[in-house]
Amino acid sequence: MVIWGEKEVLDNQQLVTIKGTRDGLTFFIDDSCSFDHAVHELHDKIKNSRPKEDEPVISVKVKLGNRYLTKETEGRLMELFTEENRFKVDKIETDVIRKKDAIQWKEESEIKAINQIVRSGQVLEITGDLLLIGDVNPGGKVAATGNVYIMGSLYGIAHAGTDGDRKAFIAASYMKPSQLRVADYISRAPDYESDGVYMECGLIDEEQDKIVIDRLQVLSHKREEISGFERRMQYG
């Protein structure tokens, strides 16, 4: 009697393939078998290819295809590789993400258009990019995890990249803000009376290590990937 499945498949097909690259090894793990089988085979493969004591540590990339790893299973996989400290796991790549994460990504990368005057004492907090059609009055505050675009006058406080994104910026039709904040940077208005500026943006200047205000035109070369979604795709 032939028992369908496991044994036969295992014989015919490799569940784990290893490829050597310039940067180290890439492990391709088949995504159609059960995780336990993959781990089993991986265990054997690792045993055979693990560098010796006197050889240098090899960095490893794992490609999972359409397999999703939970925190637990990822831990088991990591354990397997890092046993005896001869492999260093660079990256575990998967082609799939959870719906929940996808929705969160979308949230974080969406531009939310809001039509409102943010008055003194009001705080407008947004996940993603904020497009405010209206003014931010003195004493009012807007904050977004992404960029802040204001079609109106900014007199109050604007905070871009609240989750720590230093590439985020603040753009406004007219700005005379009391404070600009980007990620963990804060800059404030000078103590002397000054005129506001039209069509400018506030962003972190790496060289000066502070927030600078510049013409909107500089964004096209300083912040090329303007959309939060593209940023996420690139930097995870």
Binding site: R119, S120, G121, Q122, D135, N137, P138, G139, G140
Partner: protein, 265 residues
């Protein structure tokens, strides 16, 4: 059915009570039935400005705590049959009044009066919440000072979450020469920041202080600038369209002639 209008500002001392008294008086002058409500419990002033302090027997807290009927607490004005005042209590504090209590009172007053003017206390705490609770419309009073405009902005923001129609603005205590010199915020600048409709501007007028001290609202005086301003506001509340008052000092003909000849005026 009457209309309840709350007069508020956030900041203290910008002239809420004076404005309430004068708008009430001006509306009464136009033969409307008006009830003024003072909600500044513990710091009542409206009765003093109206010159009705000696007539108080019961107050708003007595009404809410059912120690008297609403009609017993209403004070008839000494000048107008059609003007009444519901005074605040001087001995209790703001917790003695509840939002439900206010709503009930205003609901009971509405069939009797054309306009119910509610004088709001300064601040944004319970007293403000009470005063706003039963109001249909709001008038925000500000002066041309940054701090006062900032507070007005805050109040407008808070009013947006209430069941109140979008508020209208009175700019009080304008000193024309300072505005011209740029030492005071000018009207356009204030409106640009607050972005609500303007219902009136009132000049800083000594007559207002004189009148308040005499217990006679300035709106009773026919000629004073502030009086005209308040009466214009009342007309705008009634729906008339009245152009904004010119703030220029109206110098007499003789003085204009003198200036023409280069004499000091």
């Amino acid at each position: 059915m009457g209309e309840a209008i709350v007069i508020t500002s956030g900041k203290g001392g910008v002239g809420k009570t004076t404005t309430s008294a004068n708008i009430g008086t001006a509306l009464a002058l136009m033969e409307k039935k008006v009830c003024l409500i003072d909600t500044d419990i513990g710091l009542r002033n409206l009765d003093v400005i109206m010159g009705l302090e000696n007539r108080i027997i019961f107050d708003i807290v007595d009404v809410i705590q059912e120690r008297c009927r609403l009609n017993q607490a209403l004070i008839k004005d000494k000048r107008f049959e059609s003007l009444s005042l519901l005074p605040a209590a001087q001995t209790s504090d703001k917790t003695a009044v509840t939002e439900e209590g206010m709503k009930k009172i205003i609901h009971a007053l509405k069939p009797e009066f054309d306009y119910i003017i509610i004088d709001c206390p300064a601040g944004i705490e319970q007293g403000f919440q009470n005063a706003v609770a039963g109001a249909d419309k709001a008038i925000v009073v500000t002066t041309p000072e940054k701090s006062s405009v900032r507070d007005a902005d805050r109040i407008i923001g808070l009013l947006e979450n209430k069941e109140v129609e979008s508020p209208r603005l009175i700019i009080n205590r304008i000193r024309n020469h300072m505005m011209k010199n740029g030492e005071m915020m000018d009207i356009d600048e204030i409106i640009q920041i607050l972005s609500i409709d303007l219902i009136g501007i009132v000049a800083d007028d000594e007559d207002v202080i004189k009148a308040s001290n005499n217990g006679e609202p300035v709106a009773m005086e026919p000629k004073s600038k502030a009086s005209i301003a308040y009466r214009n506001i009342a007309r705008r509340i009634l729906g008339e369209s009245v152009p904004l008052q010119s703030l220029e000092d109206n110098k007499g003909m003789m003085q204009r002639v003198k200036r023409l000849f280069g004499m000091r005026s």
